[in-house]
Amino acid sequence: MRFHLKIWRQERRDTPGKMVGYDVDGITADMSFLDMLDRLNERLVDKGERVVAFDNDCREGICGQCSLYIDGRAHGPGHATTTCQVHMRQFEDGDTIHVEPWRARAFPIISDLVVDRSAFDRVIQSGGYVSVHAGTAPEANSIPIPKDRADRSFDAATCIGCGACVAACKNGSAMLFTAAKVSHLSLLPQGRIEAQERALKMVAQMDREGFGNCSNTGACEAVCPKEISIEHIGRLNWEFLKAALSRGK
């Protein structure tokens, strides 16, 4: 198979970027999208050109490091997937494929397809954890948790922090990401205690980072590799509201 790629090239944070066209051939259907980009890069090395920088690590859909806008969709074609799990059998021979970085105010471009997602880390740092001491804890089975509750908590906890939700949102909102963490913890008795405080702090940090507001279009849910439901946003709003009320805000 052969493809025509149009890829965003930008040397550094502060230099302008543009779409550049490349042809790749010798691609097989069972290659992954990133194997295909490796192939392109190997050709660029042969020609002595700077390779296309793109984030990736685990290549099995769990680390959240890969992040591409492929043909106008976060993580490309397919449902509930990450870019590294996209395979070339999902494209037609001869296709032109557009490859761009995540675009959002809170995720500045570092180089080519690589963006700075440290805002997510700071949102978690603002309160996305249970404040337990490292090294001591009560006996695990002393806190029974109904299975369905633990399962629902897991459904939220499965977020890989890739940022597709932000990239897909026209407002660049991080509500789904933040809500997933708030939900994961507030569904568990261990995390209940700080639930309201956590919601307040994380929402405030989200605003500080320049993420936009949520207008409930559900674009985030549609591209989430882990199918995190926008129902969690409801739970975040609820915790936030309770907290705001109880503080007389």
Binding site: E42, N56, E60, G64, D121, I124, Q125, A134
Partner: protein, 637 residues
């Protein structure tokens, strides 16, 4: 050099508590003046950095990914062991200890392994308190399952994403310390050298991967928690960035490297499908709880698997190892898969695969239950291969997965360089010649949360009142200059070949000669091939794009340079060990197809000393003594 493992005296079950009670302490006011560098933010690094931060030390933590949450611990699927005995099936600390010692084929240190088993129970408590959503039973209590090499159910899991959930727990703890100002996080940073002055570790040199700047960091102690080097084979279950660079450069500065050839080849991975694959995805060992492994009885049987009748299938693990069946340890299962494929009975388009079949399990418990247990793994398999495992059996084959070898450490997890510690997969300490499933998440957590916070304090008590080395010290200049020169060498070399092409070739050499099975002749020829390849690499590698910016080719080049060195050491190690043990199977040392260990001559840890570029590495031996377990022929029959 005499290797002193510093194993505390006293009866095995009391060693750790006696040791802790004798350890020197540092008062809180002094902790604020002590700096610790932690390289790595996986389970081992994040938990250590969070624990140090909480104790009041000043911590700098580094990782090469864009966020600490992405360390490769995230990819662990199956579970974590703990001797909680929640299932009341006869488990206890002693049994976990025995299983681990036996699983490692009597090539690990009793005292370390016992401590691992002893501390296993606390880790589950810790994780649950952090909000890790482990699987639960309908009554609300924690659920368990079995893993290879054991006969009890002691593995805790969070669907197929146990590593992710545990790592997010320690990432939370780390984030909390970053927020409180005790830990400074440096993502997109790669450690490229260790600074040693008067024999003591005093700092590191890193490359800022975004800007290309070479940065210097000084501290009272340096902790490496940089994960495994199984990616040396190029094709592996590891992440693309996994490397030996941090530990290798520490090795070059004097840290001994232990058992480098003990590499685990995991039996159940997605096989090689073409020549452009970058990775072999693991299909978790937990699948062997319900999946049955087989190949056709006849050679070259070209029929579709579902057309092959029951009596013409060879469930070879069940046949050869009836007591453990599909749950035999990994080294044995991998070797058995290679054997049946070598006999010409392999499955799939290349003949280098076996079947992992869920037909009987689906018939027994129903599709729904199987989907609850393994749904995400089945989906992943289908995405990658296009085959639906609910209908057709999976095709699987062994792939490089875990390094039991790593930096030599004593009981305190300190390397042979005072002030340099190694935790998690990058040390050699607990798994001997073969790691049991679900024991390495355990080791990474135990090292980081429960061991290093104590042993580090003891070390730092001796550093009180000392200032960190100034970063303009000549030792820093020398290290930074070396790093800069290497980067410049890559980017200005007038070569023709890409870094990946060298890595693939190195991987093939090692896979052929130093993986599932090894021979003296094969290893000798591999050593000379690796040497030639290394010379060619430095002559002919091509790294376009410049040094002072984000340039993934530079990162890869540095890692491959170190893999080329380590690859040779692995072969030396495998060559000197004239026995078969665990993952190290020397074809010359077998009886009726089973490994033959030689306890008389090889009951030691091989610890290698670097002798300069081109120098023959020097072997040191730490003799292993077994007081509480009796080295026996490992039988899973």
């Amino acid at each position: 050099m005499r290797l002193d493992a510093k194993i505390p005296d006293g009866p095995l079950p009391d060693k750790w508590s006696l040791h802790k009670s004798r350890i020197r302490l540092v008062n809180p006011a002094n902790k604020r003046h002590l700096k610790i560098i932690v390289v790595g933010s996986g389970l081992a690094g994040a938990s250590a950095a969070a624990s140090f931060g909480e104790a009041g030390y000043r911590v700098d933590c580094f990782c090469f990914q864009d966020s600490p949450r992405r360390a490769h611990s995230i990819a662990a699927q199956g579970g974590i062991n703990a001797a909680k005995n929640y299932q009341n099936d006869g488990d206890n600390v002693h049994r976990l200890f025995q299983d681990t010692i036996k699983g490692g084929d009597y090539r690990s240190r009793e005292a370390n392994v016992y401590r691992l088993a002893e501390l296993s129970t606390s880790i589950i408590d810790q994780a649950v308190a952090q909000g890790v959503p482990f699987a639960r039973e309908y009554g609300g209590l924690l659920a368990n399952r079995s893993f290879g090499g054991v006969q009890v159910q002691r593995t805790f899991y969070a669907r197929g994403q146990t590593g992710q959930q545990l790592l997010l727990g320690s990432y939370g703890a780390l984030s909390r310390q970053i927020r409180s100002g005790t830990v400074t996080m440096h993502p997109r940073s790669e450690m490229l050298d260790l600074v040693v002055v008067d024999g003591q570790a005093r700092g590191i040199v890193v490359r800022n991967l975004e800007t290309g700047e070479i940065e210097r960091y000084a501290a009272h102690a340096v902790v490496l928690a940089t994960g495994g080097y199984g990616k040396i084979y190029y094709l592996s279950t590891l992440a693309m960035g996994c490397n030996a660079t941090a530990i290798w450069r520490a090795h070059k500065r004097g840290a001994l490297f232990a058992n480098p050839s003990f590499n685990q080849i995991h039996p159940t991975c997605i096989p090689v499908l073409g020549d452009s694959q970058s990775k072999l995805t693991l299909m978790s060992e937990s699948l062997r709880n319900d999946g049955r492994i087989w190949v056709p009885k006849a050679q070259g049987d070209g029929r579709k698997p579902n057309d092959i009748p029951e009596e013409e299938r060879d469930y070879y693990l069940e046949r050869k190892y009836p007591a453990f069946g599909n749950l035999t340890p990994r080294d044995i299962a991998s070797r058995a898969a290679k054997e049946v494929c070598d006999e010409g009975r392999g499955a799939g388009p290349t003949g280098r695969a076996t079947y992992l079949d869920f037909r009987d399990a689906v018939a027994r418990v129903g599709r729904q239950v199987i989907s609850e247990r393994y749904g995400n793994l089945f989906d992943m398999y289908r995405t990658i291969t296009g085959i639906d495992p609910y209908v057709d059996p999976m095709l699987i084959y062994p792939a490089s997965h875990f390094s039991m070898g790593g930096l030599w450490v004593d009981y305190n997890l300190m390397t042979t360089i005072p002030g340099l510690f190694a935790l998690g997969e990058c040390n050699f300490s607990d798994h001997g010649a073969n790691r049991l499933g679900a024991n390495s998440l355990l080791q990474a957590c135990v090292d980081g949360y429960f061991v290093i916070p104590y042993t580090m304090t003891d070390y730092l008590a001796g550093e009180r009142g000392k200032k960190p080395l100034p970063t303009d010290h000549p030792a820093f200049d020398e290290a930074a200059k070396g790093v800069d020169e290497q980067v410049r060498h890559f980017t200005t070399n007038a070569g023709k070949r890409s870094v990946d092409s060298f890595h693939r070739e190195l991987g093939e050499v090692l896979w052929d000669s130093c993986s599932i099975s090894r021979t003296a002749a094969g290893l000798e020829s591999a050593i000379s091939r690796v040497r030639d390849l290394r010379a060619e690499f430095h002559r002919d590698v091509k790294v376009p794009g410049g040094a002072d910016r984000l340039n993934p080719e530079i990162e890869k080049a540095g890692r491959v340079a170190d893999y080329l060195d380590l690859g040779e050491l692995m072969c030396h190690d495998a060559l000197q060990r004239e026995e078969s043990c665990g993952a190290h199977f020397r074809e010359e040392y077998q009886r009726d197809g089973e490994a033959v260990r030689n306890d008389e001559e090889f009951m030691y840890v091989s610890a290698w000393e670097y002798q300069g570029p081109g120098g023959a590495p020097k072997l040191h031996k730490e003799t292993l003594e077994f007081e509480y377990s009796t080295p026996a022929v490992r039988s899973y029959k």
